[in-house]
Every structure is written in structure tokens, then in C-alpha cells.
Amino acid sequence: MAAAAHAMETKKMGTQGLATLGVALLLAIAGYAALFVAPNEATMGLIQRIFYFHVPFGWSAFVAFAISFVSSIAYLRSHAPKWDWLAVSSAEVGVPFVTVMLVTGPIWAHPVWGIWWTWDARLTSTFVLWVLYVCYLLLRTLIDEPERRAVVSAVFNIFAAFDIPLVYFSIWFFRTQHPQPVIGAGGSLDPRMLDVLLLCWGATLALLALLLRQRYRVEALRWEVERLRLEAESRSSVPHGLTLRDQEHSA
């Protein structure tokens, strides 16, 4: 039986390794396409190519937050821990994705606009979005009891999700009343540029799925460990305040 479980675990590791390899390959192809296949942009030149990372990571982050929002509602309705695992995993993957967007933005803006940052509508609202989900993750670290943490952070997550459209609308309206630095030429996108953009988006989505799956398993294991620890503590006659490990050491 132990051997069968071991074999299954090995097989799982095998598929996981393959998935990781696949995603890495896809990211490499997307990177190659962004750097060498996509045509050069007329006015901005090479620096415009950062767009193929900036935009896909942003879109994928929104997908991650949408998953997190739906999972939080599902958790409150069902109280099944798996929804909480999914909510925290997707938020925790979404935050670094937005961070990529917030970092690549200024790298592009500095040569093109001549400034690193401006309080433009999109920049400001994305920054608020990032802060909201960082607060969500922070809140989770400050509550120890797992079920309490799941419930409380799910409610906060739902509030944050409903806040995002309001943030975008109010800041967009507020900022468009004021003159802005000229944002790079808009207009239509070269079809080859669009293809590369979609390829890059596919690659970041694959990365999102891979990270999400890993993080979800870590969270599931963490709950299991916590549950076993509590069970062991309640069974053993360890004096209060002494953990199982202390007992092993003394034995």
C-alpha cells in the first residue's frame, strides 16, 4: 500500500515536472516572439516590446483576482476549505503578476514619457488594486484560527472586488478632468503584434495555472498539518504550552 502511494506520488511529481517544463518552454517561445518576431514599433522602437509582458501579466492578474473573488463567495456559501485554498492561492499569484505590471510600466514610461510615474487614471487605480490585495494577504497573516481566517478574509475579498470597478470609474473620471502627459500613439495594432500579444497572454495564463496549482497544494498540506497537529495535541497528555516536538526531544 505504501509502495502504491509512493508510486502515485512519483507519478504526480513526473506530470508536475512535465507541466513545469511545458510552461517554461511556452514562456521562452513567447519571449522569443516578443523580442524577434513582432515588428518594431514606429515611434517608440525597441522599448515598446515590454508591452508583450506588461499587458499579458495585467490581464492574467485580473483572471487570478476573478478566481479569488468567486472562490471567496463559494467559501462563504459552502464553508468547504478547498474554496479558501483557491481564494488565497489565486490572490497570492495575482499580486506578483500586478507587481510585474507595475514594474514594467515605469521601465517603459521613463524613456517614452520622460518620467517614471504619473498619477494617471490607470496607474493610480492599478496601484490601489495592488494595495487592496496586499492588504488581503496581510489580513490573512494576522488571524491564526484557520476557519476564522477563511471567513473574515473572504468577506474582505468580496468587498475589495466590488470596490475595483468603483475605483477605476472614480479615478478615471477624476483624472480625465485634468490635462495629462501625452500617452503613446493609440490606434490600431499590427496583426502580427496582436498574435504575439495573444501568445504571450497564453504563456502567462499557463504560468498562472501552474503556480496556482502548486500554491493550492501547499495550502491544502498546510491545513492538513495544522489539523494533525491539533489532533495530536488533544490526544497526547502533553502539558499545555509544550508542543509535540518538545516532547520528542525530551524522550
Binding site: 462563504l76 492588504c135 489580513l139 494576522l142 468587498f159 470596490d163 475605483v167 472614480s170
Partner: protein
């Protein structure tokens, strides 16, 4: 309505608790006054500048005050475990939240009405011609602050570092409400005074959305 009676009784209880000590009211008043005075020291604004920055500053001060003052509404219940008693009562759990939202709303609104003439005098603003519209903006903006503030006080009361956590959770979420109420108020002090419908709309939408979310999901926060 089945909700109205328990809300009324709980609201009376909240008001009685507050008016015995007047802690929340007085500390909010003093806090906002301090911020308004400190601002004029740090920036030394001219009359025109203080008119321009005044409304935004007033709302920022109110938001900070709210994020500091609202957390006793749940921690106060914890010291004697009275929240357990409230939960055991045969009422809808959401009426506990609703009563606390209404109570905090009234405290903040009373504080604002007292502050308004002082603010007008300090920042050379003429409030009498726009009083009706100004109170309408104050009501909508304060409702936004009290809905989210009260729910987040319930959240932060269940975590560690709760005093620090409440402003961290509350302030970013209130960004749209802050933008809308500060812009609406600033419009009232322009010449001629104008109330932009879009900001009133944003505030009304904010209030409606979060009242509904609280009504749908708020009770989970009171579970044991």
C-alpha cells in the same frame, strides 16, 4: 418589517452607550480640528489655496478619524463578551451590523455638523448659500465611511494588531468615496457653486453596493 424593531432597539443601546461617555464624538471632533490646524502650520496656505485644498483636507481628516475611532464599536463588545449575548438573541444577525452602522453614522454626522462652522471660519468658506447641498454630500460620504468602517471594524477586531489593521484595510477601499466626496464638496465652494451629478452618483452607488454586500455577506462575520 421584522428588521426594523431589533435595529431600533440595538441603535438605542448603541446611542446610550456612546452618550454616557461621548468618547467617540469628542475624540473625532478634537482629531479633525487638530488635523485642520496642523495643515495650516505645515503648508501655510494663502486664502485661495486654503479654499482649494480645504474640502479635500476635511474629508481626509474625517477618513483618518473614522479609521481610528470606529474600531471600539466591536472591541467594546469583546471586553464583556456582550457580542455573544447579541448573537444569541432571536434576531437576524445583520440587524446587529445595521444598528452599529446607523449608530456610527449618527456620531460622525453630529461631529461633522459641529465641525462645519469651525471649518468654514478657519478656511474662509461660505457655507450658508450651499448648506442644503453640502449636508447632502456629507450624509452620502459619511454613510460610505460608516458602512465600510463598521464592517471592517468587525473584521479587524478578530485579528492581531487590530488598531493598525483597520486603517490599512479601510483607507484603500474608501478611495472612490474619498475622491467623490472631496470633489463634490470642492465643487460647492467654486464660483458659482455647482454640485456635479457624477460625484453624487458615485457616492450613491458606493453606498448602495456596500449596503447590499453587507446585507448579503455581513452576517458571516458574526458567526462563532
Amino acid at each position: 418589517m421584522a428588521l426594523a424593531r431589533p435595529i431600533g432597539i440595538l441603535l438605542a443601546k448603541e446611542l446610550r452607550t456612546e452618550f454616557r461617555t461621548r468618547e467617540l464624538l469628542i475624540s473625532t471632533l478634537v482629531f479633525v480640528l487638530i488635523v485642520l490646524v496642523l495643515f495650516s502650520f505645515t503648508f501655510d496656505p494663502t486664502t485661495v489655496e486654503s479654499r482649494r485644498f480645504g474640502p479635500g483636507l476635511l474629508w481626509l481628516a474625517l477618513l483618518f478619524a473614522g479609521s481610528l475611532m470606529l474600531h471600539p464599536s466591536f472591541t467594546r463588545e469583546q471586553s464583556n463578551d456582550t457580542l455573544v449575548a447579541l448573537r444569541m438573541a432571536p434576531i437576524e444577525p445583520v440587524s446587529i451590523l445595521a444598528a452599529k452602522i446607523l449608530a456610527n453614522f449618527s456620531f460622525l454626522l453630529v461631529a461633522e455638523l459641529v465641525l462645519l462652522p469651525v471649518f468654514a471660519a478657519l478656511y474662509n468658506l461660505r457655507i450658508v448659500p450651499v448648506l442644503g447641498r453640502l449636508v447632502a454630500v456629507l450624509v452620502l460620504g459619511t454613510l460610505a465611511l460608516s458602512i465600510v468602517g463598521t464592517v471592517f471594524a468587525a473584521i479587524s477586531s478578530q485579528a492581531r494588531m487590530r488598531e493598525l489593521l483597520l486603517p490599512l484595510l479601510l483607507l484603500p477601499l474608501l478611495t472612490p468615496a474619498l475622491v467623490a466626496s472631496a470633489e463634490a464638496t470642492a465643487g460647492l465652494f467654486e464660483d458659482p457653486p455647482a454640485l456635479a451629478a457624477v460625484w453624487v452618483g458615485v457616492l450613491a452607488a458606493f453606498d448602495t453596493i456596500f449596503l447590499t454586500v453587507t446585507w448579503l455577506f455581513g452576517e458571516y462575520l458574526l458567526e462563532e
